[in-house]
Symmetry: C2
Subunit: 193 residues, 2 copies
Amino acid sequence: MEPALIITTLNSIAPLEQGAIAAFLDLCEEISIPRNEYLVRQGERTPYAYFLEEGVVRVFFNNEGNEYNKTFFVPGMFPTPITALISGEPSQLGFQALVASKLTRFSYQGFRALFKSHPCLESLMLRILELEWIKKERHDIRMVTNDATTNYLVFRKEYPGLENQIPQYHIASYLGITPIQLSRIRARLAKGQ
Amino acid sequence: MEPALIITTLNSIAPLEQGAIAAFLDLCEEISIPRNEYLVRQGERTPYAYFLEEGVVRVFFNNEGNEYNKTFFVPGMFPTPITALISGEPSQLGFQALVASKLTRFSYQGFRALFKSHPCLESLMLRILELEWIKKERHDIRMVTNDATTNYLVFRKEYPGLENQIPQYHIASYLGITPIQLSRIRARLAKGQ
DNA sequence: CCCATTCCTTAACATATGTTAATGCGCAGC
DNA sequence: GCTGCGCATTAACATATGTTAAGGAATGGG
């Protein structure tokens, strides 16, 4: 495959040797996925890690019909069931494309198998997890601290334009409120301005 | 220092060479901390990673006087400001001993400096982050999915005896409710049983 | 031993948010 | 160009939880 966004992204995270890059690219394949299709279904096993080149993906948890969106992925991010890949268990989370998307995917086991011959890839993996950890912690603190209105405004800043590409009930679920409540918030904001 | 709980814990996470263990132990020092003292204050920098040998520690976020307990640590866990250590920024989280506690601490930079000569320590670090990630994800899913009553019951199972060692407002904050609400839940449970 | 502090409980009240339901807009398929 | 479906909005209502306040048990210090 041709080195797309993923290579520049990985290189900006940690320095990689040429040999490691080549070996890694051998594992990669590009896939396209239509709107509303699933990368990973809840309860399903998958061998793949994913990198989003174009589009939007959501990750969510479904409990008795109620869905909770954990976060949205935009290009440059990794919509990957880390826990499932690490633990070997079926994924507790579902991953769904919200618009037609292009992704790079690669076998996680294959990737780990490269660590012995290319230690820089293990350092890369550690660095990625570190960065994800930081991101998640900041996110968690924000969500707990702010009220829904503030988090809605943050969402709009963090994902410019996304608001108009996906149904509002996905945003509401992400904010931890009902679509009705989000509608009330939007009405209040429109009036207050 | 004498190899205490931390060594058996680390060995159970990932296999370590003798040389690596010795080099690591050189970095370690044991500390005791009285009840209600802070390991790390919010807004403070710290060079240390911590491992809890005995006692209880909470990690919390404070926003304009409102405190949000993220989790509790019991022996065998790492009450460590990972994000602060990785990013070099002041810690957004506070770490406080809720009962008199014993910990092992070590310089995080010193630890990372060992990665070059002891790659197994880097693998260990990666493994620890992986396990923490899994734990956090399961925790997050539970907290979102369940109501406060269920989460309270889970808390009692997950931290046996802890309920009687710490004030209930810390538990309420952990559950995301007010102490009054927790009191109502407890009253209902006592009656319903 | 007593007092003060801390913290849990209970009640009365206020309020934000969920629930149910009806309305209407806009897009897609026929 | 209709027609139907999916989705957002709005209103009326129900309810859970926060707020304020008061009282009482337990604990620790003088």
